[in-house]
């Protein structure tokens, strides 16, 4: 057991930090420090391409597909330095963390050649179409239909919470391709180009006034017959495999942005004197401890090579970070007092911390609500009986 990095790894850290900081001080100064998902989307697509050109887009991928074959420790280091340099989140995070790894694991050779280099180069931006208005926590209740017709897939239905769909090029969609099938059976995983008359993307205004998520409507939308990943009817298996990729090295980068958020709360508490309040101090310390433990939980998860047993750190990670961030949002508002409830200008737009307070209510819902997480932990982690399925 060892936490420190080797001298060679520290050199790599310096290389990453130098390059990232130079970009954020120079050609991409204008996007430094952005914390929302989609602000300055066009410039951030250019950033994706810039990363690709310099080989920093998907460093953990094989060289053959635009990666660097980076070791785990190197990926950890890059993720940390990326966030430390104030680089905004990747607008193609679905492509590099979900679509790419899924294609790598389950795609055909032709699909790998078609998609992986373009994802790595920032030329193809992906979003995901899983949830539906009646298939939220119960993902297997998908109703969007897909059928093969004249050598093409034809898709009809509606997806929801398709974040980034309005700036993406492709969407992967879980469709019901077997008439009359129920639950996880009869689903197929399709990749579809978004720019076509059969697909209509509409923003959903969130409680913070922003619109980063979308509804995506499919009306005789089309894609080529070979757009499926895996076989017909394998959709559930692929989707579940894909969800497992969600807990990767990127969590460490995410934690560095949490670091920035907690530092903002600490700075606010110092500035307005809340930092003298013993109860606020206790809560700040709890937040600090929680954040540190997330890092070491992630490092345990990443260091774990024994996949024969349940990885408790991985299984509990989602609810841990989501709850931490929601609690930080509440602490931020208690630090700010009523000043946190007033917008700066005429628009319904709040500064970082009040916005965190509002947005973090989504964290404990998307990607599996806290309630679903507890079911998963109890059933997979502790071997307790599964929740019975109703027949409504």
């Amino acid at each position: 057991m060892k936490l420190g990095f080797s001298p060679a790894e520290e050199l790599f850290r310096a290389e990453c930090a130098d390059w990232l900081q130079a970009q954020m001080a120079g050609p991409f100064k204008d996007i430094r420090g952005i914390t929302t998902l989609t602000a300055k989307a066009e410039r951030r697509k250019e950033w994706e391409q810039h990363l690709g050109e310099h080989g920093w887009s998907c460093i953990g991928w094989p060289r053959q597909w635009g990666g660097r074959d980076a070791t785990l420790a190197q990926q950890v280091i890059f993720a940390e330095e990326y966030a430390r340099a104030g680089v905004p989140g990747r607008v193609n995070h679905i492509g590099i963390e979900l679509a790419g790894p899924t294609i790598l694991a389950f795609g055909s050779e032709a699909q790998k050649q078609r998609f992986l280099p373009d994802i790595a180069a920032g030329r193809t931006i992906f979003c995901q179409g899983f949830s539906e208005p009646n298939a939220g926590s119960d993902l297997a209740a998908v109703r969007t239909r897909g059928r093969l017709e004249d050598g093409e897939w034809v898709v009809n239905g509606q997806k929801i919470w398709t974040s980034l769909a309005h700036i993406s090029d492709w969407i992967f969609v879980v469709t019901r391709t077997q008439e009359g099938s129920k639950g996880p059976k009869g689903l197929t995983f399709l990749m579809m180009p978004l720019d076509q008359p059969g697909i209509d993307v509409r923003g959903i205004t969130q409680i913070n006034g922003d619109a980063e998520f979308n509804e995506t409507f499919f009306t005789d939308a089309r894609c080529a017959a070979d757009s499926l990943i895996g076989a017909i009817g394998d959709g559930w298996k692929i989707a579940m495999g894909l969800l497992a990729f969600e807990r990767g090295v990127s969590t460490l980068g995410q934690q560095m942005s949490f670091r920035n958020e907690l530092d903002d709360v600490i700075a606010a508490a110092r500035a307005n004197g809340a930092a003298r309040d013993p109860l606020i101090r206790q809560r700040l310390a709890k937040a600090e401890i929680g954040l540190r433990l997330m890092r070491y939980g992630a490092l345990r998860m990443l260091s774990n090579t024994d996949h024969s047993t349940i990885d408790g750190a991985a299984l509990t990670y989602k609810i841990q970070w989501a709850t931490w961030r929601r609690t930080l949002g509440e602490l931020a508002m208690d630090v700010l007092g009523q000043a946190g409830e007033v917008a700066h200008g005429d628009a319904y737009e709040f500064s970082t911390l009040p916005n965190l307070f509002l947005f973090s209510r989504a964290d404990t819902i998307y990607g599996g609500t806290n309630q679903i997480q507890r079911n998963l932990i109890a059933e997979r982690g502790l071997g307790l009986p599964r929740e019975p399925r109703g027949d409504l």
Partner: protein, 351 residues
Amino acid sequence: MEFAFTDEQRMIGETVRGFFAEHATSARTRQAMAGNGIDAALWAAFAGELGLAGIALPEEHGGAGLGMVELAQVAEAAGAHVAALPLLGHAMVGQAIAKGGSDDQKAEWVPRIAAGEVIATTAWQADIAVGNGRLSGTFSFLPHGAVADLMLVYGGDNAWIVDLKGQGVAITPHVTMDQTRPFATVVLTAAPAEAIDNGDAAIPAALAAGWICLAAEALGGAQAALDRTVAYARERVQFGRTIGSFQAYKHRLADMMIEIEQARSAVYWAACAVDENSEDTAIALHAAKSFAADTYFMCAGNMIQLHGGIGFTWDHDAHLFFKRARSIQTMLGDGAYHREAVARMIVGAAA
């Protein structure tokens, strides 16, 4: 960076878990509770046959030469069975002398501590008067104080070893809520005391070992509380179904696991930080002690609640966990103390 046990550490873990599972039985622990709070035969086997009393002490003085990670593994396994052993004082005093003692002090004391020949204890905070190599003062809440041979005392940058069998020592044992680690009050009246050569090195080493020991015990205890409650949830039937199939019940168990996984990260982060002399050592220790203790108390409380009436009985082991958890929460600084220490690091002093 490799935040996973090495093969050697995995073997140590298996050995200690097996040892405590076999020997630290409920019956034996209860026998120790009725006596002086130490299972003497368990201690003899632990120190003698397994040679674990010196796990983190230097090899040249009879120890195994390993570090805080391995000490944590041992304490975790002991905590899982609420074993009645004087591990805490032993770890603290052993590290204090090993890190801060003169060569003579090390040669004199460390081999005896590593062999488990002496039982050691220490006080958290005390007002002491020093003069002519003699100490006076009242020391409260000394774990296993009534049976200890040796006491570590510290104040400011200085630390001393006091022979509790010597002159000027009056010991009052107390009936204590956690009977596996009963307290005593020690009053010293001009008792002979040996100053540890380098108090600056001894005190942090003692505190680090103490906090890690407690945090690791708490981790082991919390995990055992969860495991035992899960086993009960799968066999107990009410309303025609196992109670572990009720969502309200499952979710409470899930919440225990969520906290335990974080406590596990905390304990081994702190242990590695000390072993690697990391700049994060202080924050890691405060995080581990406060978080693991709170986790244990939450899990042990849930253990009683989720067992229903049987969990409230003396015969069931739930109260052993619950009382140890409560004891760990306040031992060597309560949660508020450790969080305020963290707050000072991140936001500065309060005023």
